[in-house]
């Protein structure tokens, strides 16, 4: 029998005992709904976590350090690379070299130092970090009050929320409600800060012995390069208050005050790494403690990381950290999927039951069909088609139901989040592949459930079936 006829007859038969078949289909729907609900929760949570990581601005970032740097992040990774002797220092030349790698968006030095900032004549000691202009579009600064730096070398500063609290003397006690960023921003935006810092100045004539004798404040490398340290001040205008969670701060955002990158570079601030990194190879260039490399596409992170390591640097990316996160979610999805499938398994028993009942009821009909020329295969296919139709129907209704449940829970949770003064989150995701998978899975499970009833119907002896009244 041809497929359209088969489908037509199957649907007709399903309509004949509409209540029973509807109930069976509802059973499948509930099973599919629970599967979809479980899996979409898993996927949604995973997406939420990934989104958070991307927002941190590090998902597409490789941090490059010199191998001579004792602060290397993960020395485990080093073993495959070149010997320490071949390792290289980080300066402008190497930065440009890295920036030329295919797939690299930009490479900028990480400038971070501790210094003293005076606000209304009170000194505050904190970490200062430089931000490239690209950080504006990048995310971590959403929810920021005020504006981003007007230019890459403007004498401006963005404050982290907790530092703003400190300046205003509003440090909250633990357990208190957090202070609104807007409240903090109002009295601070446009005000001046004075940053006191130590400037490093290259000594024009590198005469090691004489310098060491004459100027005790100078620092002299064993190989002869030298510079002096001069105390400087820089006025900064507060342009923004960033709503950053201090706990989640990493990389370039691991500071409480931010300066534009060009400005920070021009200041030649003495950095803690300077003491160690002076070398004869440094031909008057500033040394960088680390360079952040932004990659065009997160999928290229591994490639860039490898390329940078081959060049003789250390490299680290958040990708290493997300690998275990993805593993966790794979296991979570598996478990959620298994629990979700339980309901579908119960529903599939419902299909078996319904179809076996249908065989008993339609015994005579099966006999008639065989008498007028139906083959065993025709009868089998007919029952399969009925099972499959219930599966597809149940699958479609189930996906809709699962989606609705997800929306409802999402809605309810967001009401709760709102009451807790937290931003709403979309942690429920039903991707298209899940919709297709759920319907196909329901169809497949139904066909498997139809195996036994269909086989039994096909084997029915027509003589017996026709005698049966």
């Amino acid at each position: 029998m041809k497929l359209p006829d088969l489908t037509e007859l199957a649907l007709r038969n399903l309509r004949e005992s509409v209540l029973r078949n509807s109930l069976t289909t509802v059973g499948i729907s509930v099973g599919v709904a629970s599967l979809v609900a479980m899996l979409s929760l898993g996927i949604g949570l995973q997406q939420l976590a990934s989104r958070r990581l991307v927002k941190s601005g590090l998902f597409d970032t490789v941090v490059v350090t010199s191998r001579r740097d004792l602060r290397n992040f993960n020395r485990e990774e080093e073993r495959g690379g070149p010997a320490p002797g071949e390792s290289r220092i980080l300066n402008e030349t190497s930065r440009q070299e890295i920036e030329r790698l295919p797939g690299v968006l930009e490479a900028y030095p990480d400038i971070r130092f501790a210094t003293e900032l005076r606000f209304e004549d009170k000194p505050h000691l904190t970490m200062v970090s430089a931000l490239p202009a690209s950080a504006k579009s990048n995310d971590a600064f959403e929810g920021m009050q005020g504006s981003f730096f007007s230019s890459d070398s403007a004498p401006e500063a963005i404050l982290q929320k907790s530092f703003a609290e400190e300046l205003l003397g509003k440090t909250p006690k633990p357990g208190d409600d957090e202070i609104n960023v807007a409240q903090l921003a109002a009295p601070l935006l446009g005000k001046e800060l004075t940053m006191r810092y130590a400037q490093r100045e290259e000594t024009p004539t590198p005469e090691p012995t004489r310098k060491a004798a004459d100027m005790p404040a100078d620092i002299v490398s064993p190989t002869g390069a030298a510079y002096s340290v001069i105390s400087r001040e820089q006025n900064l205008k507060i342009v923004g208050i960033a709503d950053l969670d201090p706990e989640s701060m990493r990389g370039p955002t691991r500071a409480r005050v931010f300066l534009p990158l060009k400005l920070a570079e021009s200041l030649h601030v003495m950095q803690p790494t300077d003491l160690r990194e002076i070398s004869s190879a440094n031909s008057g260039q500033t040394l960088y403690s680390s360079i952040s490399v932004r990659v065009k596409n997160p999928s290229q992170v591994q490639t860039i990381e490898d390329a940078v390591k081959k060049m003789g640097f250390s490299a680290f990316s958040i990708l290493d950290a997300t690998r275990s996160l993805r593993q966790f979610f794979a296991v979570l999805d598996l478990f959620l999927g298994i629990f979700g499938s339980l309901a579908l398994a119960v529903a599939s028993i419902g299909i078996v039951n319904t179809l076996v009942m249908a065989i008993l009821e339609r015994r005579r009909e099966i006999g008639i069909m065989k008498a007028i020329g139906a083959s065993d295969g025709d009868v089998k296919k007919l029952f399969f088609a009925e099972a499959g139709a219930m599966g597809i129907l149940g699958g479609i209704v189930g996906v809709a139901l699962g989606w609705a449940i997800g929306q409802a829970i999402n809605f309810g949770t967001n009401i709760y989040l709102k009451r807790q003064a937290l931003p709403p989150e979309h942690f429920w995701a039903v991707p298209w592949w899940l919709v297709a998978f759920a319907v196909l899975f329901a169809f497949f499970v139904s066909l498997v459930s139809g195996l036994y009833p269909a086989g039994r119907a096909a084997r029915l002896d027509p003589v017996q079936a026709l005698r049966y009244e």
Binding site: M1, D376, D378, L466
Partner: protein, 256 residues
Amino acid sequence: MTVPAATSNSKGTVAIRTENLHRHYAMGESLIRAVNGVSIEVSAGQFVALLGSSGSGKSSILNLLAGLDRPTSGSVTVQDKNLAQLSREDLARYRRHSVGMVFQSFNLISGMSILENVELPLRFAEVEREQRARRSREALERVGLAARMNHRPSELSGGEQQRTALARALINRPQLLLADEPTGNLDSHTGTEIMNLIREFNQQMGMTVVMVTHERALAERYAQRMIFLADGKLVDDHANAPSTEQAQDALQGRRA
């Protein structure tokens, strides 16, 4: 014997041959020999009545001829096909294309309109949709039910239901019509209508007809040959000269 105007080209050739046919059933401890060594030959275009009391084995033979059942031993050859040796798939094909069946209880599918019932064998034969509709309508016209084709079987009288069953039996243009007590559930008037239709098929289309009945009068009126069975064995087999049309009409007139 005088054979009325049968138009079949294959008239005279052997349509059905059974040789030492046996069909035994195990019923609990005991073995029931429903068919116990029956050898018959039916030539093409013949109208044969199988007579006997219930349990004589006449329905069992019909089922064997229809390819719904397989013999325990012996052979059933219909149109040069030994049904005992066909696969289940081939038997289904044989039923689909070579045999039409009508039953005492009509055996229409209650959930379908009579048009759909008539069309059903064509679905199994994978005939195109347009052709199916046309042929089903023609078959229903042939039995005089064109006006009621969208009705369900339960909305029809017994005679109309049996005519639907006849239309269904004709739809694949088989050479063999098997009728199991076709008038058993009908009053004598509608029974006569049905029997006249069956005789028409036999005479005008040259179909070989094997009819099971326990009414000797019916067999005498319509069949060219009567085979008597008892306890699964053939007890008598003789030709019969069916009454003429005029005599039948006179008979009907008297009854009416």
